[in-house]
């Protein structure tokens, strides 16, 4: 009989994977701990990639999740530059791209998400870029010289952040969005329109209702053509149309769908001792009573701690409200709660652009989310109000909305 395997294998070196590893140590896991990381780079925070890193306001070593010596000190083994290629469920073993196999007592899938490609002709031309990794960000930064023309495809947060940063660096920026407003999947119309105005004021030209038909160019991208026949001359294109969960590893086992790897509220898949956390996980979110995949720092760290608690048999952390943040120019955008983009919502605005503003979003007779621009007080206060039964601000008056 073989010796009992006591190793935890974590696949993925992003925030969710690394947080799982260090949470396990914090919770007293003393046996082996291995993180398989596709990237060679020491794990880092991703939010600054489209903000401070792009703008050159911080550098690579300041965004590391943990200093290198801490991995050694706490016995977190990192197998960098390797990919998990297949899973043997019967043997509880993962095979890696270098041919080695790792047996596990528990397996944590923290495989993240990959930027969606635009499936149109010319999408592999040099100069058609995507942004997910530190090296993507550094490459984009070095291309953003004064006067360079950049076309951003996609009006979500990533596209907006890159457009803003590039404009600040002196690039001539055009942003193309297929929908009729910005932030269609991730924010209110009011917020989308306010941010569109700000971007335009800073010289970004915005084209709504335009779907990319193809990228044109001889040896590199020279123009973006839309289905309406418009041609946008450009030197660079950044495709930022969302990310798809990486679930290939458990595809055969039937756990992975377009919405991610299905897990329960304890981050467990239906396979024994297999967990999934972070951007790859379609998590049964107790706050909403349904499955959801929210790509955010808070979801990643929370789920990582839930999985670590499950593996160590300790108490899971209590749920907190979702929150998100972004930065565009001098605007600090903070969002408390989560509004379902597929459900109509009622919005009310407090404050103004000069002094900061907050947009209250009501769904199903409750306060679902509060979006704040330079208005941290309302963001903080919102943490206590999210989920309250209320149809509008008047209903919330008894709890004194700061205005």
């Amino acid at each position: 009989m073989s010796a009992k395997v006591t190793q935890v294998v974590i696949v993925g070196g992003g925030l969710a994977g690394v947080e799982t590893a260090f949470s396990l140590r914090r919770l007293g896991w003393e046996d082996d701990l291995v993180v398989v990381d596709v990237e060679a780079e020491l794990p880092y925070e991703r939010p600054p990639l489209s903000k401070a890193i792009l703008l050159g306001k911080t550098d690579a070593h300041r965004i590391r999740l943990r200093p290198p010596e801490l991995y050694e000190q706490l016995g977190v083994t990192r197998l960098a530059g390797r990919r998990a290629t297949s899973l043997d469920l019967a043997k509880q073993s993962v095979k890696l791209s270098d041919g080695t196999a790792l047996d596990y007592h528990a397996l944590v899938l923290a495989t993240g998400a990959a930027p969606r490609r635009l499936q149109v002709p010319g999408n592999t031309l040099p100069g058609v870029l995507m942004l997910r990794t530190l090296s993507d960000s550094l490459a984009l930064r070095s291309s953003l010289t004064l006067g360079v023309r950049l076309t951003v495809v996609g009006g979500g947060y990533l596209g907006l952040e890159v457009a803003a940063a590039a404009a600040q660096m002196g690039a001539r920026v055009t942003l193309i969005e297929a929908g009729n407003r910005l932030l269609q999947r991730s924010g209110s119309r009011v917020l989308g329109d306010i941010l569109a105005n700000c971007l335009e004021r800073e010289g970004v030209s915005i084209a709504l209702d335009e779907t990319v038909a193809c990228f044109r160019g001889e040896t590199c991208v020279e123009a973006v053509e839309t289905t309406s026949g418009r041609l946008f001359q450009t030197d660079l294109a950044l495709v930022a149309i969302g990310a798809a969960p990486n679930g290939e590893l458990v595809h055969e086992a039937g756990l992975s769908g377009p919405a991610g790897i299905l897990v329960d509220a304890e981050a467990r898949t239906s396979l024994p001792n297999v967990y999934a956390v972070g951007d790859c996980a379609n998590f049964h979110d107790p706050r909403f009573g349904r499955h959801a995949r929210l790509e955010s720092v808070q979801s990643a760290t929370w789920q990582a701690r839930i999985a670590a608690a499950g593996i160590t048999g300790t108490g899971a952390p209590k749920p907190k409200h979702a929150y998100f943040w972004s930065e565009l120019f001098d605007m600090k955008i903070q969002i408390a709660g989560y509004a379902d983009p597929s459900t109509p919502s009622h919005e009310e605005l407090v404050g103004n652009q000069a002094e900061g503003l907050a947009i209250y979003r009501f769904q199903h007779g409750r306060l679902a989310a509060v979006e704040c621009i330079n208005r941290p007080i309302n963001f903080v206060q919102a943490q206590l109000l999210i989920g309250r039964v209320a149809r509008n601000l008047v209903d919330l008056k008894e709890v004194k909305v700061e205005s």
Partner: protein
């Protein structure tokens, strides 16, 4: 320039950390792997996962929380009059020897 700061944990053990001046106390604690110093939001006073109690002897030098931080502290499990978010304290020379206590909350 580095100074020494002390994080007292709920089990009364003390973690001594060599902290680089200019970093926030949260960054210093996180870099050293101090349990309970999480810093989810990267230092924006948005998540209250870096809550500490400043030793009364050091309260004057560490300073008082600003308005946003004060509000955020209300969201912590046990707010005391010496509560601070460590991301809002900048490590500087005069904080050499600083003692803070880490609450049970995020450990």
């Amino acid at each position: 320039m580095k100074v020494e700061v002390h994080f007292r944990l709920p089990d009364n053990s003390v973690r001594k950390v060599e902290a680089t001046c200019g970093l926030s106390l949260m960054e210093a604690g996180k870099q050293a792997g101090v349990p309970g110093i999480i810093g989810d939001c990267g230092g924006g006073a948005m998540c209250a996962t870096c809550h500490v109690y400043v030793d009364p002897d050091w309260q004057d030098r560490a300073g008082e929380p600003e308005a946003t931080e004060s509000l955020m502290l209300q969201l912590t499990e046990e707010q005391r009059d010496n509560s601070r978010l460590s991301c809002q304290i900048t490590v500087e020379e005069e904080l050499d020897g600083l003692v803070v206590e880490v609450p049970e909350e995020h450990i």
